[in-house]
């Protein structure tokens, strides 16, 4: 068993209206000093069996094409083995 976590974030240069909305709300709730908020997506994927190099490679391809829109987003993929 392994858990794969993929964090997908808008590229820094791309407008993030959601992050902006959260930043505004934080301010209105009295939490000051926030200079930036970005909102991303997180996918937690539970996988059976071992994550071989080949499967890891496959996961990277899938993350880059399916989970993230490479035109506007970047991603980070972390494999947490053996739980």
């Amino acid at each position: 068993m392994a858990r794969v976590v993929v964090d997908v974030m808008l590229k820094p240069e791309i407008l993030d209206p959601q992050g902006r909305a959260v930043q505004g709300a934080l301010g209105r709730l009295g939490f000051t000093g926030v200079t930036d908020v970005r909102q991303g997506k997180q996918f937690v994927i539970e996988v059976e069996g071992e994550i071989t190099d080949e499967r890891r490679e496959q996961l990277h391809v899938i993350a880059g094409e399916l989970l993230c829109n490479p035109v506007i987003e970047d991603f980070i993929l972390i494999v947490e083995e053996d739980q």
Partner: protein, 223 residues
């Protein structure tokens, strides 16, 4: 009868709600999200739309608007409050109603003429319908799937607090086909479909929605 319609940044159906109030014979009063002032209205409608862009979560940011503190206090004191679509989401986020509205099961925004059954006609907003009456009103949402844990669902059903259920098609995956609920007292109602879009032959699929607005006028006359 003065019925307030709150405009949040991103409210869209506020004009429609005000029109429905007028067609039902009430006076619509515009309320502003940023003012902690209900202008002495006799009831409040939280209209549909995408308040704050529905960013973060639908209704999550609006819940903290100055006007909402007043709405919550007044609702707890018995003021009739109707939340339609985004308004329903705001009521849940404000904990005036239980449960939550999540992404439609099929993940698309859906706009359709929806058949409903009015399950409970004791609330401030449904008393002009017959219990069991079937109506058709527009439905349009991306996050209208009502969820709550089993205990809450059982309690809602046990206390006849499900006010309307989807018929024929469950358009968003709502648990137990729930389209709308009320609080215990019956003054606060949340409804996913849009009765304010079914108040004129010309523009709606029916005029079945008018009953929500005449109900609150009735209930005020009777109280």
């Amino acid at each position: 009868m003065r019925i307030g319609v709150v405009t949040f940044p991103g409210s869209l159906d506020d004009r429609d709600a005000a029109r429905a109030v007028r067609l039902a014979g009430g006076e619509a009063v515009a309320l502003w999200h940023g003012d902690a002032d209900l202008k002495k209205v006799d009831a409040v409608i939280l209209p549909g739309g995408f308040s704050y862009g529905d960013y973060l979560r639908c209704g999550a940011i609006s819940r903290f608007a100055p006007v909402m503190a007043e709405v919550v206090a007044a609702a707890n004191g018995g003021l009739p409050v109707l939340g339609i679509c985004n308004g329903f989401q705001i009521l849940c986020e404000s904990h005036l109603l239980p449960g939550a509205l999540t992404r439609n099961e099929h993940m698309h925004f859906i706009c359709r003429d929806q058949k409903l059954r009015i399950e409970d006609n004791t609330s401030a907003w449904t008393n002009s319908y017959d219990a069991g009456q079937e109506i058709v009103v527009p439905l349009k949402n991306g996050e209208g799937c009502f969820v709550a844990d089993t205990a809450v669902l059982d309690e809602l059903e046990g206390e006849s607090r499900v006010i309307a259920r989807y018929l024929d098609v469950n358009p968003n995956g709502s648990l137990r086909d729930i389209a709308g609920i009320r609080n215990k007292r019956g003054n606060v109602v949340g409804l996913m479909p849009h009765p304010e879009h079914a108040v004129e032959e010309l523009t709606g699929p029916t005029i079945d929605g008018l009953g929500f607005f005449t109900s609150v006028l009735n209930s005020m006359v009777n109280s």
